[in-house]
């Protein structure tokens, strides 16, 4: 079996789903250019649960956004399933994201005027699925996150943990290969955080998803297969430390 770059895989090694090659990113504030990520190179295997850790301002959310195709690199390239997403246009990236990436945010980012059902249905509106098929798919993921009885509730009528479960359902509904989560437990109490982390774990173990999670919380990172640490935009453990 070979990897995306053509290299032979070792026994038991899974092919890389994401590959970052010399990725750099900087932001401009007025006339000042602030480097955020410098020469980042690493790979993520298919079905891997990866935690990105580091202090505030270390560039971990930026790195996550680059992998999710939300932001674009200044230098280097990001290959996802062999496709160089850094070469895609804004419109191309939007289509690619809707088909390949599920997004989970710290503050859930649900649309307040839409019910749980409608929020989960959102990414499916960009597909060619019929209304009936969309309904079936939404109901399936709702039952997966144990929120079938809350489908008609608006976000304001749900607890933080329930809102994050809706967000997870929304991320899963298109059955993307990659799920990116930016501090998914950052706004939750411990019990809800444990519940969310167990859902994430299930996504990897039961559904074979690749999960990339940014977190400050060492407890949250415990479930990850691997932790990558960043500081001031540089990988601290380029050798990709195992948990």
């Amino acid at each position: 079996m070979k990897n995306n770059d053509g290299a032979d895989l070792e026994e038991g090694e899974k092919p890389h789903i994401v590959e970052l090659i010399s990725v750099s990113k900087a932001y401009q504030r007025g006339s000042q250019i602030i480097p955020v990520l410098e020469d980042i190179t690493f790979s993520i295997a298919d079905g891997e649960f990866l935690a990105l850790m580091g202090p505030s301002g270390s560039g971990k959310s930026t790195l996550l956004n680059l992998i999710a195709g939300i932001d674009s690199v200044d230098k280097g390239s990001i290959l996802v399933k062999g496709l160089d997403i850094s070469s895609l246009s804004e419109s191309g990236l939007a289509s690619w994201r809707s088909a390949n990436v599920g997004l989970i945010f710290q503050f859930y980012n649900l649309i307040p005027v839409l019910t749980a059902f409608e929020n989960i249905e959102l990414p499916l509106l960009l597909t060619d699925l019929s209304g009936k098929r969309r309904k079936e798919q939404v109901e399936t993921v709702l039952s997966l996150v144990n929120l079938s009885d809350r489908m008609d509730h608006y976000p304001s009528q749900l607890s933080g943990g329930q809102q994050q479960r809706v967000a997870i359902a929304r991320a899963m509904v298109t059955d993307p290969a990659i799920l990116v989560a930016d501090e998914p437990t950052g706004d939750l109490d411990r019990a809800s955080a444990v519940e969310i982390l167990s859902f994430m774990d299930r996504l990897v173990k039961e559904f074979g998803k690749t999960v990339i999670m940014v977190t400050h919380d060492p407890k949250a990172a415990e479930n990850a297969h691997r932790i990558i640490r960043l500081e001031k935009g540089v990988l601290l453990n380029p050798s990709q430390q195992k948990v």
């Binding site: 939300i70 980012n109 005027v113 839409l114």
Partner: protein, 385 residues
């Protein structure tokens, strides 16, 4: 369908803000409609004037009169079909606040020249027979509760004294725009009284209304009339009824221009207010728009949502404004009938109101649409929490 649903729900997300904005748009559209109607009414006399009627008056000024002897000489000018005499009477009914236009006219020729004043045959005969007889418009009669046979006393201002009339007819307008608030009585009644009381003012006509056999001949006939009385003691000035009405309107044109400008300013103000509200709304929802774009929605999808919300608020406000225009116009027509006997909203005004509301919706969405559709996703996502 989804974008429509999202736009509608977003529109009422802050009910108080939505209601205030919609009310603002409704009031602005109402004011715009009323002001435009007011301007239109000013020109109503011009628009409803006949192209086969000429007005002949003193070339010096309208306040100077012409000898009644001109009547027969005008009648014999080729192209003239009818000649009627008319004097502005300026009488007051009970008090000055009851103002309405009242004229001494030569009844038979006057009614022949003004077919837009519809009067029943029996009433017409009765009016023609009675020297003290008078005819009032339907609205005027209704306002004062006059019935056929009622005695009406006008206090003369130009022609001093108390003038006693008997209401013999009530006319209706042939068109909705016909003024039904005027009062006409026999020119002979006025003239005979003047002969007795102020003989030097008798046998004088304020203006002649002249019928011509075709509109094309009007300029030629007007020239012929003026040529007939050139170098006389009372030279004439003849013009079409439209030109005559325009000369009145021209006196107040500056006011009309000011009202027109105000009507546009009202729309500009509400446009700015609505744009500010929509900009505020877009600013608050940047994270949501960023989320939508992160999920794969394109800038055009986000733009439709913002534009739909803005347009919905403006059109709802506009619709309420248009609906309120009718009862308000009716109220104004009732309360200000002495100034605006006809206060009706024309279809063109409604189209203008709808166009103005649409413009408010479109313009107020420009900045928020631009902002929402060009938002950098990662920056937008940071706005939450």
């Amino acid at each position: 369908m989804f974008y429509l649903k999202l736009s509608l729900r977003n529109a009422f997300r802050h009910p108080l803000r939505a209601v205030l904005t919609i009310t603002g748009v409704a009031v602005a559209i109402l004011a715009f409609g009323l002001l435009r109607t007011l301007v239109g009414l000013w020109y109503l006399g011009v628009e409803t004037s006949s192209s086969t009627r000429l007005i002949t008056r003193s070339s010096i000024s309208l306040v100077f009169t012409l000898p009644v002897s001109y009547r027969e000489r005008i009648r014999h000018i080729p192209g003239v079909t009818e000649v009627s005499t008319m004097n502005w009477f300026g009488g007051i009914y009970v008090s000055e606040k009851n103002f309405f236009p009242n004229f001494a006219v030569e009844p038979k020729t006057f009614l022949a020249l003004y077919p837009e004043f519809i009067i029943e045959d029996a009433e017409k005969k009765s009016f023609l027979k009675d020297r003290r007889g008078a005819v009032a418009g339907y609205k005027l009669a209704a306002k004062h509760g006059w019935k056929i046979g009622d005695r009406i006393i006008l206090k003369g201002t130009i022609f001093p004294g108390e003038w006693d009339f008997v209401l013999r007819g009530i006319y209706r307008g042939a068109q909705r725009s016909t003024d039904e608030s005027q009062f006409f009585f026999h020119w002979d009644y006025l003239n005979e009284s003047l002969r007795r009381t102020v003989p030097r003012r008798a046998d004088q006509v304020g203006l002649y209304v002249i019928g011509v056999d075709s509109p094309e001949k009007a300029p030629e006939v007007a020239q012929a009339i003026d040529a007939t009385f050139r170098n006389s003691l009372a030279e004439t000035m003849s013009e079409t009824e439209k030109a005559f009405q325009l000369s009145f309107v021209a006196m107040t044109e500056a006011i009309m221009i000011a009202i027109k400008i105000v009507s546009y300013v009202v729309i500009v103000i509400i446009m700015v207010v609505a744009a500010n509200t929509m900009a505020m709304t877009a600013r608050e929802r940047i994270a949501e728009y960023a989320t939508m774009k992160a999920l794969g929605f394109k800038w055009s999808h986000v733009a439709i949502t913002v534009f739909g919300e803005s347009l919905f608020i403006a059109l709802l406000g506009g619709a309420i404004g248009v609906l309120l225009t009718f009862p308000t116009a009716n109220l104004l027509e009732k309360e200000l009938s002495q100034f605006f006997p006809v206060f009706r909203i024309s279809p063109v005004t409604i189209y203008f109101q709808i166009a103005a509301a649409t413009l408010v919706g479109v313009v107020s969405s420009v900045f928020p649409v631009y902002r929402a559709s060009t938002i950098n996703i990662s920056e937008g996502l940071r706005r939450i929490g």
